[in-house]
Point group: D2
């Protein structure tokens, strides 16, 4: 995704026809979605929204990498397993961390930590392989771990402020 593009006023983009940027993207802001929750505030931080979005993507990329690995001719069993594990943990993490009703801060922190661990384990394995899907997956895991770490720092800072 990630494009420095402007959607509004796309102006002259004649010829660009139905492209990625023109489609469906207004609704696709996890961060905005969360900000529209009644109970937003409290322990919410933009860092948490970013972690949710990265974990959602990491779940999808790992799901795809597990599948792509199973089609390779070399023995990718370890990579398949770790990608499936990482997809499962990322899915649970983003779903739990996106909820705002009656904050469950303790479990969100635990799942962010579990997600960091799953991503680091998966990244270490994917980084060993030259397949484009493994390199992408390793990068996604690294970025997801980083965002979860920042969200964890932000949550812990809030706890200290309150204390």
């Amino acid at each position: 995704m990630g494009r420095p593009f402007s959607r509004v006023n796309s102006g002259t983009r004649i010829g660009l026809a139905r492209s990625f940027e023109e489609k469906g993207d207004e609704a696709m802001s996890i961060e905005k979605m969360i900000s529209e929750h009644l109970d937003v505030g409290g322990d919410y931080s933009p860092a948490l929204g970013l972690a949710v979005r990265h974990a959602m993507y990491c779940a999808a990329i790992c799901n795809s990498c597990a599948d792509a690995c199973s089609a390779e001719d070399m023995d990718m069993r370890r990579c398949i397993r770790l990608c499936m594990d990482c997809a499962d943990v990322c899915t649970a993490t983003y779903r739990v961390a996106a909820r705002r009703t009656d904050h469950n801060r303790q479990l969100i922190r635990t799942m962010l930590a579990a997600c960091i661990e799953a991503c680091e384990i998966c990244e270490a394995e994917c980084a060993k392989h030259d397949h484009a899907h493994c390199r992408r997956c390793a990068q996604m895991c690294r970025e997801c771990a980083r965002e979860c770490r920042e969200a964890l720092v932000a949550l812990n800072a809030q706890v200290h402020e309150e204390a």
Copy 2:
């Protein structure tokens, strides 16, 4: 995701202070991920990649809307249920449809159709409510249904070509 987006006083953003665009987004292309699969080709179409990405987002938005609805004071039970249903079907759909190994075209079509149905049912309910999260969710469902419909058309066209 639609951002011309500055997070924290990105101001002049000289040096491109760590912004959204700099973060994590290189890895986040579901379509590129799929294109890196050994078995890409055959019944793959860009429309399918877009449907996968939309279903992934729709799962996340519906998960969030179910949670936000449960925090509202009015009776949102129908909306909560339909959002949870839609999140579940979207999750299964994107995971199945993203796989390229040993094509499972029949099931992908079935799940795209199920996803359209889940999205339409959820959208119809969310569209009745004025909450920002419901409006966003209705839009997301509408866009997801549209992309799944286009992916289905593309898959069916391929079947006819081959016949």
Copy 3:
């Protein structure tokens, strides 16, 4: 569940040393759980409860078979893929079909039909292999498809009665 069951060499088990029967099984009735819902009735049938329980198990068995297949030395890529697909569809099906609040009969029927299809496709592949895990998985898929089919018949009968 709760069955007359001895694990291995439960031997003297005087005093009923911590056995299966003492453990966890009182709570583990999906059918009883559903029957405790305020809105039970309407389109609920025992057949639906059985289908939910089978789809839950089939998701778990397929998840395990995909993993076991990836450890085999022969090329199991097709089986891995179909097991992962089936696990995803079964998970979505049981979660949607277990919900009673503000009935979503249309989607439940669609998902039961999708689940039958996913199970039949997975069973056909697993049945080709002699691995114990594949044979178990094929049987589970067959039984899950059968229960989903009966639940579908029961739901359709209700629609006709009401008409």
Copy 4:
């Protein structure tokens, strides 16, 4: 779950009609499924198999309780949220912990610990309510936490033995 019953030709069981016990249960043993994996052994323990089965059930019971809570007239928002969280964490836990290929012991332990936490938080809330579904859910969470704890003890014991 393997009970000594016969499905076909159950003979005289007059009056028993099509009951729970007659249907589909030979395939439904998570423990047997895992034992059929090539790589079984190593850090596998029967306690882990039991934890997997309980987490699978707990995911289903929590999914159902969240739905049942949303149909109650009193404010159940906290219970809905915690049940959804617990279902998500239990699902990820059982899927990860059921895999045997290329052991991922570290993540299994982390997820068992996360699952215990999710179950304890959910149980504490459900135990406050008199609804039959909440009482069942609280019991299920308690039992799931207990089995995860025992699986964790078994895994840690193995680590010490090896050291």
